[in-house]
């Protein structure tokens, strides 16, 4: 991935590039929803509409060689880490051309060459592995960082606590990106955590914790940049407490009976990170339209590519179980 800034500041054109990428993710996921409703894709699809600035801000701050582990809400992370829309869409269609060769689908997106150690259907699944990979970077003196994405709900499972403790104890170059969207499925965060400030969980392990506005891509980028530098510089892991919002259901088709209409409408109206950036950049309607039609074309192309892909054969399921 091309480095966007040289001197720690972001130019307007860098930010326009962020805008483009966020919009690509948004349009990609909207298309996924549309194709699901058309009966072309199976269910169990979690989109990250509203959380695009987290994926883009963090991944744009990475250096060559850094790795990530994603979650069940993985399309944004995967695109931001460099997997092409074609390969991702083909995966959702279960085709051999997909980034996981049609075996994984939405919750099992891997792109090892590009440093994506995978999405995870099991919540909390990525954190221990990232801690271990970061330990390896430390043992070998490699200037690399491991980044784990996870949600607020994930901070309640054992692997989260074991990983944070180990990472801090061993001072590994890892960054833990907590995307706090205030929901774990239908359970609001006030009902699954007895604290309001999620970063206290990292502080309890003695870990450096930083709070970030997840709807502001520039803020996410800068915080991630500093966190990565800290970790890369051998100063230990960092916890990024990213405040963000899920502007849609937990999964595509979720009727969200548990969520008040007013809250949802208000959140949608005020917390769209793409809208925030558009305003900040004072982009004209024409400018937006130009980028929009460009990314929509890419997404259409991805659907085309995916539909023309190769179906795996049943016997392929027997491969790659052992060396």
């Amino acid at each position: 991935m091309a480095k966007v800034e040289q001197k720690g500041t972001l130019s307007k054109s860098d930010l326009r590039e962020f805008f483009r990428e966020m919009l690509l993710i948004r349009r990609f996921e909207e298309k996924v929803e549309e194709r699901f409703r058309a009966g072309e894709l199976p269910g169990f699809l979690h989109v990250a509409i509203g959380q695009e600035a987290v994926a883009v801000g963090v991944c744009r701050a990475l250096e060559e060689g850094d790795i990530i582990a994603s979650t069940h809400r993985a399309h944004g992370h995967t695109l931001a880490k460099g997997t092409t829309p074609n390969e991702l869409m083909a995966e959702l269609y279960g085709k051999m051309e997909g980034c996981s060769h049609g075996y994984g689908g939405s919750m099992h997106l891997y792109d090892i060459e590009r440093g994506n150690m995978g999405a995870n259907a099991v919540v909390g699944g990525g954190l221990p592995a990232i801690t271990g990979a970061a330990l390896s970077f430390k043992l070998r003196g490699e200037p690399r960082v491991g980044v784990a994405f996870f949600g607020d709900g994930a901070t309640n499972i054992g692997t989260f606590h074991e990983s944070l403790n180990l990472a801090q104890l061993w001072q590994v170059p890892a960054v833990f990106v907590c995307e706090n969207n205030h929901w774990a499925e239908s359970t609001p965060s006030w009902q699954h955590m007895p604290i309001e400030d999620i970063s206290q969980r990292a502080v309890a392990y003695g870990m450096k914790a930083v709070k970030v506005d997840g709807q502001d891509v520039e803020a996410v980028y800068k915080a991630a940049r500093r966190a990565l530098e800290h970790a890369r510089g051998g100063k230990g892991p960092v916890f990024l407490a990213v405040n963000t919002f899920r502007l849609v259901g937990h999964y595509i088709g979720d009727p969200q009976v548990y969520r008040s209409k007013e809250e949802l409408e208000e959140t949608r109206a005020t917390q769209d990170p793409i809208e925030h950036l558009r305003t900040k950049l004072e982009m004209s309607a024409d400018e937006v339209e130009e980028i929009d039609s460009e990314v929509k074309e890419i997404v259409e192309g991805a659907v085309e590519f995916a539909k023309n892909g190769t179906d795996p054969k049943p016997e392929d399921a027997l491969k790659n179980i052992y060396a």
């Binding site: 279960g94 075996y103 709900g153 774990a184 499925e185 009976v257 049943p314 179980i321």
Partner: protein, 329 residues
Amino acid sequence: MSCEGHLAERSIVEAINDCLHVELERDSSVMVLGEDVGRSGGVFRATAGLRDRFGPDRCFDTPLAEAGILGTAVGLCMAGWRPVCEMQYDAFSYPCLDQLITHVGRYRWRTGGKMEFPIVVRMPYGGGVRAPELHDDSPETYYVHTPGVKVAIPSTPADAKGILAAAIRDPDPVVVLEPKLHYRTSKGDVPDGEHVVPLGKARLAREGEDLTLVAYGSMVAVCEAAADALDDVSVDVLDIRSLKPLDEEALLVSAAKTGRVVIVQEAPRTCGFAAELAAILAEKAILDLRGPVLRVTGYDVPYPYWQIEDAYMPSAKRVIAAARRLLDF
């Protein structure tokens, strides 16, 4: 079954929901806990209405922490409750396996029989729903292999209700796996009010003379379809429904009658429950058998993605092929 007025047509998931309503009403020590079971009524709506009816102390949402759910259920049991824990999906029960193996299955034994362990763990299991990996597992073997834990897998709405009721009333830990593929599509008459199907009793889903098809859960329907297609053959379809305790008697009686047994299991092949059944037949029915005990199973691979899952799942076609092989033996 009894008089018609006391039956209502229900799907499997409705029967489970009905059972929970009846059992929570009947016994104030029964409680339900799990992820999203309260306010939203569960991802499959198995626990719908419980929180409103019985209050947030009897049906409550937990954080995302399966080991914590089952681990605290251990303590709740010690203090006199009958917790019914929901695991959202089959594979999300793996984080609680540690609790199940190291504690749940051992307390009665450890305490010299002084402690009751009426815990129920229920979860949707199995494939065929076009879900990705880890939403389609058949993990029964892990549970059956754990001493001190009972395991049941119903296949009909009436049994889904009756077996869950038996599990809740049982003094020991019971894991109940529910065939999610048929949660809504399988409908049948279910007795209203209290309905208990004792653990340890198989169900003869169909009676025949020439061949026995043995299965549980969602594979029972596959066996019935195979039996339909084998129209020149008279088939016993034995629904095991309680894996532990096991109704060995029913298995041996059917084997003695037909002399030919095909066992069907969705889980991966090696060390699956079908192997246990085959071993029992080898030990106790060898002279009754007219051919080898055959297994039709899943493969020793992680459950594959939807594009090829139909090839993984034991089908009526595969069962018929095994049946023909045995009949021609």
